[in-house]
Amino acid sequence: MNEKRYAIVLDTRRCIDCKACTVACKAENHVPLGRENHRNWITEEEVRGQYPHLGQSFTPSQCMHCANAPCKKVCPTSATGRSPEGIVTVDEKRCIGCKYCMTACPYDARYYNEEIEAVDKCTFCQHRILAGRVPACVETCPTKVRVFGDINDPTSAISKLLAKYPHRVIKEGLGTKPHLFYLI
């Protein structure tokens, strides 16, 4: 049997920019207040068209849990690692705060958390996954933008979505092999 490989599929057309995912993440993971402190975010794209025919898209995002993660490669003390299920992790005790991972991440997914005194980022709510639950951002989303699951299980909802719809990843050209898939 294949090992698990967790990922998230996002259908951005469903996103209403309510930011519940950011709030849920902050509460779930004790992310400190402050502009720079967030594990996930929503990018508001430019408004399209002319009044009254207008449209706007919103792109929620977070750590891409890259298979070829630049942050992991550059960490001098191996504080950044990867779980067998593909989750990119930070071991707080080993983080020296050199912030090299922050300069290496092409997605700006990391920030320095003064409370835990280490670099912090999305963990796919690893503690919840262990308890059989989905990440907080996935659970809370009122329009169900995100679908979390194991892409190595062909019967999972996420695998079915990826099989059915074309999708893209962000900054594919950098070769980071991100595991946040956006339905087109």
């Binding site: 502009r35 550059v74 003390t77 983080c95 050199c98 300069t103 290496a104 320095y112 003064e114």
Partner: protein, 382 residues
């Protein structure tokens, strides 16, 4: 103390440096108690600020001093043997000051000392940076020891190893930036090459300053062999600067041609954006054009003229480091980043960051002046 009162100039010098060191120490203490977040202006988007660029400035200086001094006791250009002890000693001091500066930027230097050994990551350029500079420091100390003992074979052996370590460690520092594919302004083989070249300019400049300082400033007549050395150094320095200008031009052209995303915005930030004054005034005018003009004007080729050219280069190179470090980060990594002005995030050092830089500069100069008093740094002719 008695000797100080006889030399009011020296007393003033040490007092000024002492003041600078006090400011640095006071700021460091505040940073350690209040935390980096409250004292520094670095951010999520620009995590590396002036402390990193000042660290780069110091270690580039160290490498440059080592490389230029190796022209004497490694490559056998006799005139350069004169400055062997001074150059290597200042190389050690600038390296240590650089380490001190980066220790104030890293949040957990003690954790670092533990985990670079317990769980090293050999694919990390920063891991190699620490290791290679560590080896380099030991070799410099060995080289200085043999130079002081007039042990030429030992000094040469250490010098050769030191030269290799300097080039390896310093080009790897270029790699710390150059291996980040996420940062188009830094990414590529350019920075390792450029760091070595600009280190030569830095080394030559500092040597001209310390030679002048030790004689003219202390009112000791310049030994006859020095003017000849300075003439050669001036020619070499002019050559290094011309190559540096060539490098700078070829750093800019690929950043503009075809407007490559990320690289173009950073290059424009340097040329016409928020860093333009730093670039045109400090880097180009003060750091390159003025020294080149001085070094190509025959009547300026005297200890004072060469020293002024060196001092101008050193100022220019300080800004060069700063601009390089900051420009690589001010282009946001994603759309929709907060506080973006004209497509760029901003960074300006805080008072605390300036305080640490001031303290580091003062400490470096203090240690060097003190070392001049403790050691006999005049090379014996043989």
């Amino acid at each position: 103390m008695a000797s100080f009162t006889k030399k009011p100039g020296e007393l003033l010098w040490f007092s000024l440096l002492g003041l600078g060191m006090l400011v640095g120490a006071g700021t460091a203490l505040m940073v350690l108690t209040k935390g980096h977040a409250h004292m520094y202006n670095v951010s999520r988007e620009v995590p590396w600020g002036i402390l990193i660029s000042t660290y780069v400035f110091f270690v580039v200086s160290s490498t440059g001093l080592c490389l230029v001094s190796s022209l004497g006791h490694v490559f056998g250009i006799e005139q350069f043997e004169l400055i062997g002890r001074r150059a290597i000693l200042l190389s050690i001091i600038t390296l240590l000051t650089g380490f001190g500066t980066i220790a104030m930027e890293i949040n957990h230097p003690i954790r670092m000392a533990i985990y670079v050994l317990l769980t090293p990551n050999l694919s990390s350029p920063i891991w190699w940076m620490g290791t290679l500079y560590g080896v380099y420091l030991l070799l410099l100390i060995g080289e200085f020891f043999f130079l002081m003992k007039n042990h030429h074979k030992g000094a040469m052996a250490m010098g050769i190893l030191g030269f290799i370590a300097a080039v390896t460690a310093h080009s790897n520092l270029g790699g710390v930036f150059g291996l980040l594919e996420a940062r188009p302004y830094w990414y590529g083989p350019f920075l390792p090459l450029y760091f070595i070249l600009s280190a030569l300019v830095s080394g030559g400049a500092l040597i001209s300053i310390i030679v002048y300082y030790n004689y003219q400033f202390r009112k000791i007549p310049l030994p006859a062999r020095y003017p000849h050395f300075l003439t050669t150094l001036a020619k070499l320095q002019a050559l290094f600067l011309m190559i540096l200008i060539f490098f700078i031009i070829w750093k800019i052209i690929p950043g503009l041609y075809g407007k490559p995303p990320g690289k173009y915005e950073a290059t424009m930030a340097i040329l016409t954006g928020p860093m333009a004054f730093n670039f045109w005034f400090f880097e180009v005018l003060i750091g390159m054009i003025a020294p080149v003009l001085i070094l190509f004007t025959k009547r300026f080729i005297n200890p004072f003229g060469v020293m002024v050219a060196g001092a101008l280069c050193t100022v220019g190179i300080f800004f060069m480091r700063y601009d390089l470090v900051v420009a690589g980060q001010i282009v946001p990594m994603r759309e929709g980043t907060d506080d973006v002005v004209n497509g760029l995030v901003s960074y300006a050092p805080s008072m605390a960051e300036y305080g640490i830089v001031l303290g580091a500069m003062a400490t470096c100069m203090f240690l060097y002046t003190l070392a001049e008093k403790v050691f006999d740094l005049e090379m014996k002719e043989h």
